[in-house]
Symmetry: D2
Subunit: 344 residues, 4 copies
């Protein structure tokens, strides 16, 4: 089988670097181009020394011809970039996986509200598939354009999914208290992201509303329990990688066997590990494409609590993107994604 020719647009951020780390070991991939306007000419391995000897490319200015020769192009760019280039690439038969938010919200008006700009290609948006394999595997296999889910949405959705599909919780008030490591904010030169600002401290942010809330609510609303009211609060952790989401809901079915529900729903999912009696910690998924979930009914109450952990850069971004690519190209879904978490 010929190797898949892969291009990456926007390779200087953390999701770009993580794509490189994963794809460098993928047996069926040839990296053909990595673009960066700001760093054009710089060897990739000079910016990211962990890739020395494994990635010999230089960053290049994005170039139509180079990209249209790819089989698939990953966009690891700021929001609003992929939607300007995707239509042309699709026209050339190139498949597109956007790791940013351009194709995640189905309603262009909602997208414009949260992202502060008009959507550049609403018609293409309509065909985009939301790339959560545990939910949309068959559509992903057929897709030309993937909206790779956000990091928080991946962790929260996989936690609520079995409960909402089984219609055993009250969807009129779902709470997601989510916490992310600093890499989730990207590789940006901002004072607020400095070691001396984030280290040894913890806080909530965006309590008034975060862009990932409508994305999560959109997916949760498709799971069989109808529209949901979601309260979502993100927090910033004094560490680099990892998201933990603690989810709260009220059971409507008092007899529901929660452990069995989760165990059965995820029995065949390679990248979701249901932990009975567990307290999943983020390090147990660090560097891996795994999502680990646990579910608890606290005491005699009707409150169900779900814990869900992922590595925000892997299952929450680059790893899931590669999982989607594998599906799109008919490969084993786990290719390139067999790394175990780095613990300790």
């Amino acid at each position: 089988m010929p190797k898949i020719k892969v291009g990456i647009v926007g390779g200087t951020g953390y999701t770009g670097a993580e794509l490189l780390r994963i794809l460098a070991l993928h047996p069926h991939v040839t990296l053909t181009t990595i673009t960066s306007r700001g760093e054009a000419g710089l060897p990739v391995a000079e910016l990211f020394p962990h890739l020395r000897g494994r990635i010999d490319l230089q960053f290049t200015v994005p170039n139509d011809e180079t990209l249209t020769n790819c089989d698939v192009v990953f966009f690891a760019t700021p929001n609003g970039t992929a939607m300007r280039s995707a239509p042309q690439l699709l026209n050339h038969g190139v498949r597109v996986i956007d790791l940013a938010a351009d194709f995640r919200l189905k309603d262009p008006a909602v997208w414009a509200h949260w992202y502060g700009m008009e959507h550049a290609c609403p018609n293409v948006l309509a065909e985009a598939v939301y790339g959560l394999p545990e939910l949309n595997r068959e559509s992903i296999r057929q897709a030309r354009l993937i909206a790779n889910p956000g990091c928080y949405p991946t962790a929260v959705t996989l936690g609520f999914l079995p409960l909402l599909e089984a219609q055993v919780i009250d969807s009129s008030w779902l709470i997601a208290d989510a916490k992310s490591g600093a890499s989730g904010a990207g590789r940006k030169a901002e004072t607020g992201l400095l070691m001396a600002e984030i280290g040894e401290s913890f806080k909530a942010y965006a309590v008034n509303g975060h862009r990932h809330a409508p994305e999560i609510a959109q997916t949760l609303g498709q799971l069989g329990s109808g529209a949901v009211n979601l309260t979502f609060v993100p927090h910033l952790l004094p560490m680099i990688r990892g998201i933990e989401a603690t989810l709260y809901a009220r059971l409507t079915d008092d007899n529901c066997d929660l452990e069995r529900l989760f165990a059965e729903r995820y029995a065949t999912e390679t990248f979701v590990d249901f932990m009975p009696n567990g307290h999943p910690d983020t390090r147990s998924v660090r560097g891996s494409n795994m999502c680990r979930v646990a579910v608890t009914r606290q005491g005699a109450s009707n409150v169900v609590i779900v814990q869900s952990v992922i590595d925000n850069l892997v299952k929450g971004a680059a790893g899931q993107a590669v999982q989607n690519m594998n599906l799109m190209f008919g490969l084993n879904e786990t290719l390139g994604l067999d790394a175990l978490a780095l613990l300790p």
Copy 2:
């Protein structure tokens, strides 16, 4: 005014060390004895080098005579210790401040359930005052025996307090998602507390039920809105000091001016800082006795979100204990507690 003669039982843990750090600079205190069975004979400053030159005492075996000569004795001991010594000290006219949990729960049966032993002095328990000055200031002034609040309960209670006193939220489901630094687990040689286990990771724990839940519920139930149903989930942060609690409730009074409510309730409280529009971070209280709170109504929903941060070793333990001592001895409540947070 003669100085207050202070004894500390159990000086080798973090709350003991923090009492020493604070009391060493207190203008009206003389430290007369610091006990530790395990470290008797060891100079305090050898275990805690930051106290070199400031604390010249050695740890001693607890001794009735030495302790009964104190004006006040702080217990920075494991649960179940203070309740065995407090009655005798009180009989000798010594005031007692217990930083452990022995006198926090009013019902001895509930206490026995959560702490796994019978209460040693239920009659004395009845007179103990719960040492949250913002709630019980006048009782504290008269008290002989203080149950110093737990760290999580301090952060959570100060967050919900204005809402429950004003009876503007639905107390049938309150959620407290709380996160603590590692010092909250104490200075214990346990594998689970190692740097290599906790660093760069995050998890929930005690999701099935934590001892601080009944303590919080007991206090919240006294605030005017009646008994509460509380869902409490603690989490472990990869850092040393600090608690953040994110609290969720549903408003029952749609017209409530939340900012005004909090601002007025805490207007005269030195150690509670209401931050309009803020996202309090734990570093803004690190090493200080301050609790900072913020309140938000998310979007158009009826959900109110409170953020509350404290330093678990100061306002959550030793600082609040000294605040209580100041009140008990008719001193300015802030004596010894004027340190600003260490930021960055």
Copy 3:
């Protein structure tokens, strides 16, 4: 005694914030102005929430009149700023303490080489006193202009000082392997200082030569052993506050009693704590103005190893600056500097 009117130029960095934290509690100081061109109009406590309720000033544009009305002005500015304003302030009788490097190197040509610009006032430079109280206490009392030592130079110099004064080591090769927390790099929006870049990692930097090397060598050369050859390598620690320097030299006097030498040299120094048999850790000085040192002769070799720790923002910057101010104004040297280290 009337309070000292203090101005701070450049209050938005970490050394500025630390000056504010210390001076807010200083009994003989009135803060009259804090300048920042970039943040003029912003309340100081909005940028630094730990100062809420304690510092009511706003940042202002630097203003000649306001500054010349001060008794002393601290410069917490980038290199090259103080040297442009100091002469005028001195002419108005205002004392100046520069926390940057403008007045540290005696030779303007050397300064120009390392700092990449001509010195703006070589004549004023000549009268500047290097503000290391343990070395220059009497000159500091008389000084109008203080060059506050760099953070690395403070730690390294206090470590080598007893050995060079006693002329017991071979000054033809001194090695200082120094490590600093991230706050030493300042509050700058640079990618290299992000949590996700610095956390959980360690490296040397500026191995080819660091600006602090000539500063250290200049001071060491004045200590009685003649000119020194110094190898200095700084490293970046995955933490916020603290410098540790491990120093290596060869003993020339085989009979030297190292412990006695250090103990006697620092016997009367409040802010240098010699620890016999110790391994000083940086947390034992976190937030305090203390320098802790230990000295070891390894095995039977003639190699002497000194460990020296400080908080880079306190004894390495703002605390030492206040210590200098106290000396210049005839106050007790320790005023405002009695905080114990925050441990844990």
Copy 4:
């Protein structure tokens, strides 16, 4: 080719866990037994959740029969354990790789001095090969018994090696200032290893002499420059994985082309990456078997400075052990070791 049957004695520590993480993905290995007296009966994946679904074994009590059926046994045990079992295993034709120190020092008397016990099998000690492939590759291929190098010795030796082999430095005084993450101390329930003790702090330790010093000196003394005088000081970093060693020596050959020397020496070494002009950071090797080195001549001095970084659990322990196993069994040296570093 039949798979190699591998046993691990002492699987509950960090080096044991790391062996499992690496070997689980090794294409030519079958894990047959993992022993632990303390945790016998416990599924491995319960202690180490990152191995869930990948390692199905339980810990067992060490058992002669099970171990003698292995092709190779790794000892990830405390010092003094492997030397009691190795002779018997060797007699049964089982190859042995000891990750502890039992076979590292050639002189049993020196070993007894540093490790506080008599050596149990000095005759077997004589045939042990020091498993640093970059130095002893051919001997390793033939070895029955490997002394896997210590973590500090690996980093320090690979840094000094080109200089000593080329005889271009003065070996009468070599200095190694080394820093390690907390995982280097192992998974032991000790107060001194707690997050709240190590986090946000830094210190030297064992300044009087560390067990790795004689091991390093023994190897350096074999490199062609004769016996060396080594000053070695280890430090503890507030992070989990990684060692950085900064090495100092004086050049004796003023014309030596340092960059060329290092580049040529390591040109064919897969796991040593010489970085011209670089400042290697530990994160660039986190989770990988790579050692990255840089060399600098500071200014016009004759001082040469080498920086060397490894992951203490991989190239400093389990990864190097697998590299040795590959060599012993005639496999490609890099099998199972192709993971790139996890950055950020």
